[in-house]
Symmetry: C2
C-alpha cells in the first residue's frame, strides 16, 4: 500500500480527478437515506475489526520509518495504533451511526402573508477537504462525520502515517462498497507530495470547504493560501476570572480543574484572573493546590506580592497558549478589568467567570465575545461531546458558519424551501 504513490506523477491532475469524483459522489450522497449511510458506517466498523492484524502491521511500518526519521516521542505516540485505539475507532463508528441524521430537518416552516409556506432545510455542504497530521484515527473520525452528514470528503493525512491511513482507507472503501455507497464518498489522498495540499485547497469547483487539523503553522499557511472557505481552529488562550463574589470552594475547584484536568487541550485555562478584593485570601490556597500538580506559576507584580514563589510574567505570558503545566496569574480590579484583559489578550475560544452574583454573570455572558462563555463551570466543558453534539470534527475559532465545537450540524448548511399552490408575485 505504501507504493501507491509511485504511480502519481502529475499531482494536479490526480487531485483534480479526486475532486471530480468527489463532486459526482456528493450528488448521490446528498440524497442518500439515513439507513444506507448507517449501514456503511457499521460495515466499515466490521471491516476494521477484521483488519486488525493488517492495521497493526501497516502502523508498525509507519512507526519504524518514523523512528528512522527521528520523530520525537510525542509524535510517535500520536502515530501509534493499538488494539485499544482500534476499539475506539470502531466504537466511534457505532456512535456516529446512532446519531440523528441532520440532513432534511426543516426549521421555521410557516405561512407568509402571500400564502406561500417558507422554511429552511438542512442539507450537506457538498465536498469537504480535511488536512491533518499524524493521528491515523482522524481518518475514520473525519470520514464518518462527513458521510453521516451527506458530504463527500477528500482526506489528506500526514506522510508519517501513510501506511496506516492506506490500510484504514481500504476498510472504508470496503465498508462503503458493501453498503452500496459510492466509493468516492471517501477518498484518501494516496500521495505524500506536498503539492497535493496546495491543489486541494485551491479547487473551489470541486471542494466546498477545507478543515485543517494540526499545528498552528499548518493552519495559518492553509488559511493564507486557500481559495475556498476554511473552518479552522487557531489558539485557545482560555481564561477563568474569579470575582470577589465567587463561592471560594467552587472557585478553587474550577480553577484547578480548568488547568490540571488535561494540559494539552485547547480548552485548558492558560491565564487565571483574580479579583483584587479576593486575591490575598484565595491565591495562597490556589498556589498550594497547583503545587501538588507541579504547575509552574507566572504572576503579575500584584500576584507576586502574595505569591513570591511565582515567576514574573512577561507580556508574552498573557498571549501564551502553554499547553503545559504552566499558568499565568493576574490580579485585576473587578469584572471590567477582567473583561478588558480577555478582550485584549484572549483568543475568543473559551472564557469563564466564577461569581455568585446574578448581574455579573449576566454581564459576562453578554459581553465576552468568545466561542464559549461559561459561568461557574470549568473551561474543560467546551467540547462537542460535553455539549451534546455527539461527535466533534474540531472546535472552530472562526466566527462565520461554525463557532465553537463543530459536530454534524456544522458540516451542513440550510437552504430555503417554499411550498405554494400556484402562487405568483403581484
Amino acid at each position: 500500500m505504501s507504493h501507491h504513490t509511485a504511480a502519481i506523477t502529475d499531482v494536479v491532475a490526480y487531485m483534480d480527478q479526486l475532486g471530480q469524483q468527489a463532486r459526482a459522489a456528493s450528488a448521490t450522497l446528498r440524497r442518500l437515506d439515513t439507513a444506507r449511510k448507517n449501514a456503511a458506517l457499521l460495515a466499515t466498523a466490521a471491516q476494521l475489526e477484521q483488519a486488525r492484524p493488517r492495521l497493526l502491521a501497516a502502523n508498525e511500518a509507519d512507526l519504524v520509518r518514523g523512528r528512522e526519521n527521528g520523530l520525537d516521542a510525542a509524535l510517535l505516540d500520536r502515530l501509534a495504533l493499538t488494539d485499544a485505539r482500534i476499539d475506539a475507532m470502531i466504537e466511534g463508528l457505532h456512535q456516529v451511526a446512532a446519531l440523528p441524521d441532520p440532513v432534511g430537518e426543516v426549521d421555521g416552516l410557516r405561512y407568509r402573508p402571500s400564502g406561500i409556506q417558507v422554511g429552511q432545510m438542512r442539507v450537506p455542504l457538498g465536498v469537504i477537504g480535511i488536512i491533518y497530521e499524524s493521528r491515523p484515527n482522524v481518518t475514520v473520525e473525519a470520514a464518518s462525520l462527513c458521510l453521516k452528514s451527506g458530504n463527500a470528503c477528500i482526506l489528506r493525512g500526514g506522510s508519517e502515517a501513510r501506511d496506516s491511513n492506506a490500510a484504514i482507507a481500504a476498510c472504508l472503501q470496503a465498508g462503503l462498497a458493501e453498503a452500496g455507497v459510492p466509493e468516492a464518498a471517501v477518498q484518501v489522498v494516496a500521495t505524500t507530495d506536498r503539492a497535493a495540499v496546495g491543489r486541494l485547497i485551491a479547487m473551489p469547483e470541486y471542494v466546498d470547504v477545507i478543515i485543517p487539523r494540526g499545528g498552528k503553522s499548518l493552519i495559518e499557511r492553509i488559511t493564507r493560501e486557500a481559495r475556498v472557505p476554511v473552518i479552522k481552529h487557531l489558539d485557545g488562550v482560555c481564561h477563568v476570572y474569579i470575582d470577589a463574589t465567587a463561592d471560594r470552594d467552587k472557585a478553587l475547584a474550577i480553577a484547578l480543574n480548568a488547568k490540571t484536568h488535561r494540559y494539552g487541550t485547547c480548552n485548558t485555562m492558560e491565564t487565571l484572573l483574580v479579583d483584587a478584593a479576593l486575591a490575598a485570601e484565595l491565591l495562597p490556597r490556589l498556589a498550594a493546590a497547583y503545587a501538588e500538580h507541579h504547575v509552574e506559576l507566572r504572576g503579575c507584580p500584584r500576584t507576586r506580592e502574595i505569591l513570591p514563589q511565582a515567576v514574573e510574567a512577561s507580556e508574552e505570558d498573557w498571549h501564551a497558549e502553554y499547553l503545559a503545566p504552566v499558568l499565568a496569574i493576574r490580579v485585576v480590579d473587578g469584572i471590567d478589568a477582567a473583561m478588558a484583559h480577555i478582550e485584549r489578550y484572549g483568543s475568543q475560544h473559551t472564557d469563564a467567570i466564577v461569581t455568585e452574583q446574578y448581574a455579573l454573570a449576566r454581564r459576562f455572558m453578554a459581553e465576552v465575545d468568545s466561542s464559549s462563555v461559561i459561568v461557574n463551570a470549568s473551561t474543560r466543558f467546551a467540547d462537542g461531546f460535553e455539549y451534546g453534539l455527539g461527535a466533534e470534527i474540531g472546535i472552530s475559532t472562526d466566527k462565520l458558519h461554525a463557532r465553537g465545537p463543530v459536530g454534524l450540524e456544522g458540516l451542513t448548511t440550510r437552504k430555503y424551501v417554499v411550498f405554494g399552490d400556484g402562487h405568483i408575485r403581484e
Copy 2:
C-alpha cells in the same frame, strides 16, 4: 464634502485607522441595548428628513459629474435620488427599527448529563465591510442592518455617488451622535482611491467579513483577493420545471410571473424546462403569453419543433443570466432530466417545480441543491421580504454561513453559553 478626499494621501494608513476605530466601536455595539440602537435609527431618519435639500443638491453634483463622465442612462437612474427615494430610505429605517433585535437570543438551552446547561446565543459578527456601486440608498440600508445587528461597518460606495454618500454619511453621523452611539459604528470611506478597497478586504485584524454588492466582475475580484470571509451573490440562473403532472393554469401563471414580473432581478427565471409529455399542449399557450410581453424565446430543437418562431438556443444560453426579456426553453424527459439540467447549468440560486404529484414535489425539494427550492410558486418569491426576514442585505449564493436571502440573522453568529454551579470535568 466632495473635497474630503484631497487630504487622504496614505490610503493604507487611513483604512487602518477606520479599521481600528471600527474594531473599538464594535466592542461597544456588541453590548448596546435595543432601545439605543433603535433610537439611532430613528434619529437618522429624522436627519434625512431635515437634510432633503442638501441630499438632493449633493446628488445633483454627482449626476452632473456622471453625465460629464458619460455614464449610461441605467447607471444615472440608479444613482439618482428623488423625494420618493428619500422617503423609501426613511421608511426603511423605521422598518429596521421595528424588527426584533436578534442579538442575545438563546437557542436550545438544555441540561447535559454533567449538570451544566448549554445553549447558543446569537451575537454580532463584529466589523463588516460593505463594498457597493452606484445606488446611494445602499449606504442607509447597509448601515441600518449592521447597526441593528450590533455590528460596526465600513462602507465603500461607488466613486460616482461620492457626494450623495457623503451627505448621507453626515446624516448617519448626526443620528448616531444624537442617540449616544459611537460615531465609528458607521464609517463611510471618504476616498475614491481604489487602493482603499484593496486594503479593506485584506485586514482580518479589523474586519470580520466583507459583503460586496455589485456586478459580477467586482465580486469575482473581491472574492479572489480578500483575506477575510466574503458573503457574496454571484449568478442567478433560475429554472422553472413544469412536469406533465402540473396543473396547466398554475404552470402558465408561474412561468409567466417568474419571467415577466421583473427582468433585472436575480430571482427571475432564465430557463424554462418543460416535460416532453406536456410540451406540445403547453408551449403554444406559453409562447402566446410571452409574446404579449415581447419576451424573446430561445429553444432547444424539440422546443423549436413546437415553436418554430423560437431562436435556436446555443450552449451559452443554458448558462445565461439574461436579466432581460429573453427566455431559454428546453424540453426534457421528466423530472430526472430536469434535475440533471439544473445540476449542470444552474447557479444554485433558485429553482422551482410545478407539479400536482406529491412524490415529485418531495423529490425535487430534497434533491435540488439550490439556496431556494420551490414547489408551485414563482421564483420571484426568493427574497428576504417575501420570506419574512423583514430586510435583506443581499442574497447569498455561498453555502457557508448564510445561504439565500440574508437579513439581520445572517449578520450575526452564535456563541455557546454554559451555566454551571461549580461544575468540573471528572
